[in-house]
Symmetry: C2
Subunit: 190 residues, 2 copies
Amino acid sequence: MTVELLPFFKALADASRLKIIGLLAGQSLSVEQLADMLDLRPPTVSHHLAILAQAGLVSARAEGYYSMYRLEQGALEEAARLLLSTEGIRGAVMADVDLEAYDRKVLSNFLTAEGRIKTFPGQLKKFEVILRYVLKVFEPGVRYSERQVNELLGQFHPDTATLRRELVSHGWLKRQSDGSSYWKEIEEGT
Amino acid sequence: MTVELLPFFKALADASRLKIIGLLAGQSLSVEQLADMLDLRPPTVSHHLAILAQAGLVSARAEGYYSMYRLEQGALEEAARLLLSTEGIRGAVMADVDLEAYDRKVLSNFLTAEGRIKTFPGQLKKFEVILRYVLKVFEPGVRYSERQVNELLGQFHPDTATLRRELVSHGWLKRQSDGSSYWKEIEEGT
DNA sequence: GAATTAAATAGATAGTTATCTAATTGATTA
DNA sequence: TAATCAATTAGATAACTATCTATTTAATTC
């Protein structure tokens, strides 16, 4: 059974509910007992307990006509593990985030419909987006002469010297020390 | 620097902010980049980042006229530790809970102004509150004869036999196997 | 079966907050 | 110095929610 992070945090993001968790950490308690201890009316406590139960943090057991609520230690532990893993957070809630949205916006601002560069962005961050875009025309591992490099870059912008220099200074395009050839390294990772 | 639990959970109890944490777990990002990725306006993202920063979860560094935000891993780790300790929760947020409120309510319902028992509560839970109240007249470790026990209990209610029997059956008053004496054990713990 | 009691549900309200647009600030570039 | 750009602040609004009272449900006791 997996803990959903958002309901979990929402359940704990309230002073009354945190107190309930604290009280239940010591002993099982009924709705009425909790209500007296917290100085709240029973329906309010019922409401909070429903939210906590939904998040898997507490469970109820009928006893007489009392509902005795107890803390689910396991849920706390699982959540703590998720917090520490970082991957837990990344995987958990990021279904619909658009990692490339910013780059796409920059590209649409600085490229023509045909994919040529209109002007070089003044800001480094945006210029880098353009450089990464240009970089895709090079095959990883293949050696190119300077003439070939200029030819490829020319399809994006006449100032091939600037493009070439910036690519190299960022380390994204490597240059043989005698200047005879250029290449893009083979990518690693997933 | 201690993480406050309530602001911490409140900070994470929002889908947009959880996504921000997830994105910053991978890399530092500017407000504008986050806004594009999340499809929100920059002021909204600023607002969320302020809340996260308040809780100690992110920090900003000025870079050009960008504010680059990065995740504070340490805060996540500290919070995870608090979650696991249980004592973390108990200590953190329970300043103003009234642990004895329920017992007090029951006592005021079933005791006379002079501290005698009006009637025996029908429900076990409440009867136990009364028994714990009565139990205080016995000194821990002292031996009492049955006559002495009845004398002490008589000040609360004429039916001393019921009180005595219930105290013993709960294990709160011990009885010598030959019935010659009774005693309350010495308490342990804080 | 009638009376009692705890819990849950329904409905209302006041307080909080996530989001937006518009205006301001602060820093950079020309 | 003027123009540009990202971030923040201010103000407004719609959505959410913590809490209450009143009612209903479910279980227990007499």
